[in-house]
């Protein structure tokens, strides 16, 4: 790939166009917006994880002065639907799930919504909640995914098995694989529920506009939910409009419907604008979490380190509702064997309903969980074989043109060799240990897809137009959750059309006014909407250059657009102001705009049980290298060095890419060291940020990022997506570094000080016994 071309804007570390407004405090997030006559909404939620609803008495609540509506399940036009969760066509199998707006006869998880209130003030709405009397009959529930798989386990949802789906990956012959192994390492890994913990709690305002359109302005990653909301209200899709302002963090937690159905219903019923904002406690209790997994791994290798076999059983806790659990499991299945050449592979994956909080998308979407397992396994093998962790990986890494265990061929550059080498080198000499500390270094690499699974037939649309004065308008349904999703589109348009970033205005996130660009999930926006914007901008450029060529009597191929002028690539001083070309086009009735549709590769599936063949458009590869100091007596882990080396394809905005890698590293570090939603019998014991711990500035080490640009991504200018890949391998890198420091491995996250002290004690007792 040719990366020598000098770009004017692409690749430069320029400030994002939305940063200025945010720095000035001008950006209006969902909760910052108000309308005259606005009501306030609150949700009554179940205090039980599993119970029958005997009766609901809303009479006292309705009579409270200032209350304008109290709704229960029977007031919802379509309370239940089988949702295809973002698929545009039916896939069948386990990829669909029940979406229930309000609990009806039973509650299935603690926090499940039961009733909605709209009132003149938030205080009155809260008071009304207390006046709603619900009679419950607590039922036995099931709170462990392995227990829930048993045939005698209580059913979470009547009439269906707790096991949502079972997937398989089969390559070669697993018995043969282990028979040919000189060493076999078998371990069970466990990873917990964690929260997205975006700083902005869920929020939205809904109203009926002057044309009777149900309009929502909501913090969301998916404006396409307008369809699901319309279905809930039994309205045609074109009578519901969703607007997404800048989102204060999403990470997958705002990928499913959160407040939308509630505010739409209350606005529809009261005919007044209504705002609903979750408290932080409500957000922690009631929105989706990352899937906890039980990961049983068995890996075999020859004594020279070559992998021969990998067998794994993955069980994820889907919580009380299906949501995206089968999708997440698919991602885990595809990457379960890691980016390695393994002749014999057998993976069985299950996702299981329980009466815990429902689980769904969270940055990484099933890939970080298996990465923790397979990268720990690699170091376990290295230890058994007395090999350097770097060497055992290098000899087994897949190369471009080779296939994953599922048979998917890696068609684009695989940068594992060089990212691992560079990350490892950047670690440098081990820092000298002081006092009670032991210092360890560890590496872990990962691969994660960007772009949605190809059997979802993903598309994105973007509209680019040039105004009469040479300024540029982009309209795209992109939801901007902080990763520079809209800014990249502005950069691409500016680059292609020869204007500055300030000359481009992006209108985004409005189902009525911007072409739908698809979800801001799956690390797909730069890839999909970036390409769509590129295509649209190139069409406009073509029109302009053909006209310029006509005026200047030159071959359009010789012309370029730079700084609002048409110039000669070959250096002569022939030039033309851009505005002149624009006027000429307009006067000739030529289109100075284009709406482009970008299609990802498409594939149709005939069966879903066995995951095989191509699943993703491409993958991003990278390695984390970590140095830690472990206090052997207290178990406290301090991260001394953290290096992230990734092949980003092409960095569209250098600052943004670094920001994703730095932020992703700390997001993953939290997963590795301190984050856990403690849940017992369906009750969350970590209700606020006092109990659920995120890394503070005093916990985060300085992240060193090393960007490689192979140019071989499928995004615009050869870019790859980094939003999710950036955190994939951080937790196992830390676990491997801790192992290097203290010589004992911990098989479950997070690596808390107490766990470390416990394994050291057990190890010392074992040694003592000998």
């Amino acid at each position: 790939m040719n990366i020598e071309t000098e770009f004017r804007i692409i690749g430069k570390p320029i400030p994002r166009h939305d940063a200025y407004e945010k720095a000035m405090g001008l950006t209006q997030y969902a909760a910052d917006f108000s309308l005259p006559g606005m009501l306030y909404g609150k949700v009554l939620r179940s205090p039980h994880a599993s119970a029958r609803i005997i009766s609901i008495d809303i009479s006292k609540a309705k009579r409270l002065n200032g209350v304008r509506a109290v709704l229960t399940a029977k007031d919802v036009p379509k309370n239940e639907s089988v949702t295809r969760f973002g698929q545009t066509h039916a896939l069948g199998g386990g990829f669909e799930g029940l979406y229930r707006v309000l609990a009806d006869k039973k509650v299935h998880f603690l926090g499940e919504p039961i009733a909605l209130v709209a009132a003149e003030t938030e205080g009155i709405a809260e008071e009304a909640l207390e006046k709603i009397k619900v009679e419950y009959e607590p039922l036995q529930g099931v709170y462990d995914s392995l227990e829930a798989m048993k045939s005698d386990a209580p059913l979470v949802e009547e009439g269906r098995s707790n096991i949502i789906t079972h997937f398989e990956v089969i390559k070669g012959n697993i018995e043969e694989g282990f028979a040919g192994a000189d060493v076999i390492v078998e371990n069970t890994y466990r990873v917990p529920h964690v929260d997205h913990a975006y700083l902005e709690p869920e929020s939205g305002v809904a109203w009926i506009d002057e044309n009777g359109i149900v309009t929502l302005r909501v913090s969301t990653q998916v404006i396409e939910h307008f369809r699901g909301i319309a279905d809930v209200l039994n309205l045609p899709h074109n009578r519901v409009r969703v607007i997404a302002p800048y989102v204060g963090g999403g990470f997958g937690g705002k990928e499913d419907i959160t407040v939308e159905s509630f505010i739409a219903l209350l606005a529809y019923k009261t005919k007044r604008p209504i705002k609903l904002t979750y408290t932080r406690e409500e957000s922690i209790f009631c929105h989706s979490k990352r899937h906890p997994y039980v990961l049983e791994y068995k890996t075999g290798a020859k004594k020279d380190g070559k992998l021969t076999a990998l067998q794994a059983r993955l069980v994820s806790d889907a919580g009380a509702y299906v949501y995206l659990s089968p999708w997440v499991l698919t991602y885990s299945m595809v990457t379960a064997a890691g980016p390695y050449r393994i002749p014999h592979v057998k993976v069985d994956g299950y996702t299981v309903l329980t009466n815990n909080i429902y689980t769904s998308a969270n940055r990484g979407f099933g890939a970080p969980q298996v990465c923790f397992a397979y990268e720990s396994q690699m170091d376990e093998l290295a230890s058994r074989l007395k090999m350097n962790p770097l060497e055992i990986r290098k000899m087994n890494y897949l190369e471009k043109g080779e296939a994953l265990a599922t048979g998917e061929i890696l068609e684009h550059h695989v940068a594992l060799q060089e990212t691992t080498q560079k990350a490892y080198q950047a670690l440098g000499e081990k820092t000298k240990a002081k006092g009670h500390h032991k210092v360890g270094q560890g590496i872990a690499s990962g691969m994660m897809s960007y772009g949605r699974m190809i059997f979802l037939h993903d598309t994105s649309r973007s509209y680019v137009s040039m105004e009469m004065d040479g300024s540029v308008t982009v309209r795209a349904g992109v939801q901007d959750i902080g990763g520079g999703q809209t800014s990249s589109l502005a950069q691409i348009a500016a680059e292609i059309l020869g204007v500055s970033l300030e000359d481009v205005k992006v209108y985004f996130g409005d189902t009525a006014l911007t072409p739908l660009a698809g979800t801001t999930t799956a690390t797909r926006q730069l890839y999909m909407s970036g390409n769509a914007t590129l295509m649209a901008a190139q069409e406009v450029r073509k029109t302009l250059l053909i006209m310029a060529g006509k005026i200047m009597e030159m071959d359009p191929e010789r012309l370029d657009l730079v700084d609002r002028e048409v110039v000669d690539k070959e250096g002569s001083d022939k030039s033309l102001p851009l505005v002149d070309v624009v006027r000429a086009c307009a006067s000739d009735g030529l289109p100075l705009y284009n709406v482009a549709l970008y299609k990802a590769p498409f594939r149709n599936l005939t069966q879903f049980k066995r995951i095989e063949g191509p699943v993703f458009p491409d993958f991003t590869h990278g390695t984390h290298a970590v140095e830690v100091a472990v206090d052997e007596e207290t178990g406290v882990v301090k991260v001394l060095k953290l290096i992230a080396c990734y092949d980003v394809g092409r960095a569209i905005n250098r600052l943004s890419v670094e920001g994703q890698l730095e932020g992703g590293a700390i997001y993953g570090m939290g997963y590795g060291l301190m984050e856990k939603i403690i849940i017992e019998n369906g009750v969350i014991k970590t209700p606020s940020f006092s109990e659920y711990l995120l890394p503070t500035s005093l916990d985060a080490p300085e992240v060193q990022t090393i960007l490689l640009e192979s140019g071989d991504g499928v995004g615009p200018f050869g870019a790859k997506g980094v939003g999710e890949p950036s955190l994939n391998s951080i937790a196992p890198a830390i676990a491997n570094a801790v192992y290097d420091a203290i010589g004992v491995r911990i098989f479950d996250l997070p690596l808390t000080p107490e766990k470390i002290v416990r394994v050291l004690k057990e190890r010392n007792q074992r040694i003592g016994k000998r």
């Binding site: 570390p13 939305d18 720095a23 997030y29 700083l199 920001g659 932020g663 700390i666 992240v703």
Partner: protein, 166 residues
């Protein structure tokens, strides 16, 4: 419904005297957002665990969610919009933009307020001092690195401006 008793609150908000009737349990955060329209002050957690609501009370950064509005009566309150405006941006705002220290932006207002409080007291903070000063401001997007770099750069810029004035 019982009418809640209200009290007159008078504060110097971003340099101007402002007054409004408030209820005793209303926090400064609530009043700033809902009664004075300063929605740049954010609620992230409502109980002092995240710093998104930080404002300067008599020059000191505090969580406005942990301060009753009436406790600020007669005192000076400065929010992000009192630190810099589009007409006259503060070096902190400029360096946050320039250094890529803003992703989703939700922590930004509180972060800049806290940084301003720091630089007012300690114009040349070390990296450690910056890290400590913002340890009550959570960020989920950036990993803090570019935020710290932005504060360092703003401090240097302010020092240069001070030195030039001499």
């Amino acid at each position: 419904m019982k009418k809640q008793k209200t009290y007159l609150l008078e504060i110097i908000l971003n340099g101007e005297w402002k007054k409004v009737e408030v209820e005793p349990q209303e926090t400064l955060l609530y009043v700033l957002r809902e009664k004075f329209g300063h929605t740049e002050v954010k609620e992230g957690c409502g109980k002092g665990d995240c710093g998104a609501c930080a404002i300067l009370l008599n020059g000191k950064p505090v969580n406005s969610c942990l301060t009753l509005a009436l406790q600020a009566d007669g005192q000076t309150v400065v929010t992000l919009k009192g630190i810099g405006t589009p007409e006259k941006p503060h070096p902190l705002q400029e360096s946050f933009v320039k250094k890529g220290a803003i992703q989703c932006g939700f922590c930004t207002a509180g972060m800049i307020v806290t940084a301003k409080g720091l630089l007012d007291k300690n114009p040349q903070p070390s990296k450690d001092e910056i890290q400590k000063a913002i340890s009550g401001n959570l960020c989920r997007c950036t990993g803090y690195k570019k935020i710290i770099e932005a504060i360092e750069e703003a401090a240097q810029k302010l020092q240069r401006t001070m030195n030039n004035k001499r």
